[in-house]
């Protein structure tokens, strides 16, 4: 249940940007989330809606973009998407490097000045 902590960080960043850009209202925020983090979208949106009450983000939509877990094999160098938590490469090696799937990035926001 660290979704609230994630949202608190997110809001802090958004409010800083809103102040810099002199925004009066934020209407949507796009967040990119890696699938390996196993964040529960409903909980995240619930946390968001609770935390933004009374701020300029009140009523804003939190859009989530999922990033599949992607790795590169250190043996044969191919890149593949991990399904069902199987990190084994088709060449048989399990020595892989994470490329994507752990990130949590604020991509963009929409707002009015």
């Amino acid at each position: 249940m660290h979704e609230f902590s994630i949202i608190n960080n997110l809001i802090k960043i958004i409010l800083d940007i809103a102040e810099e850009e002199k925004l009066q209202r934020v209407t949507s925020i796009t967040l990119r989330i890696g699938d390996l983090l196993h964040i529960v979208p409903e909980t995240l949106v619930f946390a968001f809606d609770s935390v933004v009450k009374g701020t300029i983000c009140d009523g804003a939509v939190l859009e989530l973009e999922h990033v599949p877990v992607t790795v590169q094999c250190r043996s044969c160098s191919i890149t593949f998407t991990v399904t069902e938590n199987d990190f084994t490469c088709e060449c048989g090696s399990g020595d892989v490097e994470m490329i994507g799937g752990k990130e949590m990035v604020i991509v963009k926001l929409d707002g009015d000045t």
Partner: protein, 218 residues
């Protein structure tokens, strides 16, 4: 109007973790973050480890606990520097708390700091505390499906410990299935099977930890 941002949500936390890592490196201190579910044997592992290295290394402990100081009481040793972090219900330790805790120690006199994270397989896996290694602790009484159910922890961990191996015969824990799932998730992770109660299988863990403490800085 649209504003492009591309900023990590955990950026501030990651920044603190990096500064913790630099502080440790400057002082030649290795930090190990022990993560596991409640009852897996994290405190027992620490007790055994502290006693084993009593005359070899200068160790310190950061003890994370939801609500009580019971684990800290168990770990009390003469001349063991220890900081207890009570998270008041928070289900993980954060790098900022670790940074404050480290200020309580004389880092120049230490070889390693061992962190016992809050008992939880989900949230602690998400937070880089500035440690050099993460250790995932599970036990045979919890069931063999933990790696596949908590993939982030077992991907992030540098070593896995399967504790209470002496009790496996009294449970339906399928060790082959456990190892197969772990291998599928993280092929290169070392696994130490042990019992902190009867002291079996501890040597491999001690050897691994010693190599991390005396090895080249990372």
């Amino acid at each position: 109007m649209e504003y492009k941002i591309m900023k990590s949500v955990m950026g501030e936390s990651e920044g603190i973790a990096e500064s913790v890592r630099s502080q440790l490196k400057e002082n030649g201190v290795v930090m190990i973050n022990i993560i596991g579910s409640p009852g897996a044997g994290k405190t027992s592992l620490l007790e055994m480890t502290l006693d084993h290295f009593r005359d070899t290394f200068s160790l310190a402990v950061i003890e994370g606990d939801l609500a009580t100081s019971r684990d800290a009481e168990r770990l009390k040793r003469e001349s063991l520097p220890m900081v207890m972090i009570n998270t008041d219900g928070g289900c993980y330790l954060q790098p900022l708390s670790i940074q404050s805790a480290l200020n309580e120690f004389d880092l120049s006199s230490l070889d390693a700091v061992l962190i016992e994270n809050v008992g939880n397989l989900v949230c602690p896996a998400h937070f880089d505390l500035g440690e050099n290694c993460k250790v995932a602790v599970v036990s045979t009484t919890e069931g063999d499906d933990k790696p596949i159910k908590y993939p982030l922890l077992f991907r992030e961990a540098d070593v896995a410990i399967l504790n209470k191996i002496d009790l496996a015969q009294y449970t339906n824990f399928n060790i082959d299935s456990f190892k197969r799932d772990l291998k599928q998730l993280h092929d290169t992770i070392p696994l130490f099977e042990m019992s902190c109660t009867n002291n079996s299988g501890m040597a491999a863990w001690y050897e691994w930890l010693e190599s991390k403490i005396t090895g080249p800085a990372v």
